[in-house]
């Protein structure tokens, strides 16, 4: 079955991103397909590579990136929500005259249309948030 995943909270403050990760991993292990993982609201904060948690803690950003790498996941950070919260890729940084970008490996920035598209293409869309 094809799944779409929506993550609406950032890492660490709320458990939503952890639950979404464990759910996505379990779905892949069961042989399901993940059409897209879409990060919205504060969920865009899952996509900054500047995150540096203590060594003995889970690295939520890196963990998502590794899962994406292993399974060729399409992980999209919403552009409008990302701009509000300071998550930018090279193009966005250039376009808005910022001195750096911070998007993490495995994530890319795109429009909200990608969420609707996931809803259309997936058999099931599951929302994780607060």
């Amino acid at each position: 079955m094809k799944f779409g995943i929506l993550v609406n909270e950032g890492p660490y403050t709320h458990e939503a991103s952890d639950t979404a990760y464990q759910f996505t991993k379990a779905a892949l292990e069961k042989g399901h397909e993940i059409v897209r993982v879409f990060f919205y609201h504060d969920g865009v904060n899952n996509g900054t590579r500047l995150t540096t948690p203590p060594q003995d803690e889970r690295n939520i950003v890196k963990r998502w990136g590794e899962l994406a790498d292993q399974h060729k996941l399409d992980m999209v950070v919403c552009v409008a929500a990302a701009q509000r919260r300071g998550i930018v890729d090279t193009d966005e940084a250039k376009r808005h005259g910022k001195d750096a970008d911070n998007i993490a490996p495995g994530f890319h920035i795109s429009g909200l249309g990608q969420l609707i598209d996931a809803g259309i293409k997936a058999d099931r869309l599951v929302v994780f948030g607060d």
Binding site: Y40, V79, L112, G113, I116, G119, I120, V127
Partner: protein, 133 residues
């Protein structure tokens, strides 16, 4: 938002699904109502069958008389009146949620269908994709 809508849109492969947006949160205290409305506007460009349900504190999103000047935040309540222009015309409000808050249909800024808890439950059952924020 406008740029995105020009770049995207149209139903991929001609598929039309029934999308239900469940609004249960009040505006301004958190950003969920505003960003949820942005998704609704985008989904209209994808020619999908869109319905909005307002229940619990979500009914406060569409009450008349919102004035945000002093808090310094944009008042986005007029956007609900503009939804009709995007062919988003199915707005449902739960009767019990209005009553619990001392509100009636006359207190709302946009024409809606007021329905019961039972009917909201039926609405959820009859949709393909449920987006709740």
């Amino acid at each position: 938002m406008t740029d995105e809508m020009m770049e995207e849109g149209g139903a991929p492969g001609g598929v039309v699904k029934k999308f239900l947006y469940v609004n249960r949160k009040a505006p301004y205290g958190t950003i969920y109502a505003l960003e949820s409305l942005e998704v609704v506007l985008i989904s209209a460009a994808f020619e999908q069958d869109v319905s909005l349900a307002f229940l619990d504190d979500g009914v406060y999103q569409i009450v008349k008389g919102q004035d945000t000047k002093s808090v310094g935040v944009k008042n986005f309540s007029p956007t609900y009146r503009a939804l009709e222009g995007y062919d988003v015309e199915k707005l449902y409000v739960e009767k019990e949620s209005l009553e619990a808050r001392g509100l009636t249909e006359e207190d709302l800024i946009v024409p809606v269908q007021v329905i019961s808890t039972e009917e909201i439950a039926d609405l959820m059952e009859s949709h393909d994709v449920i987006l709740s924020f």
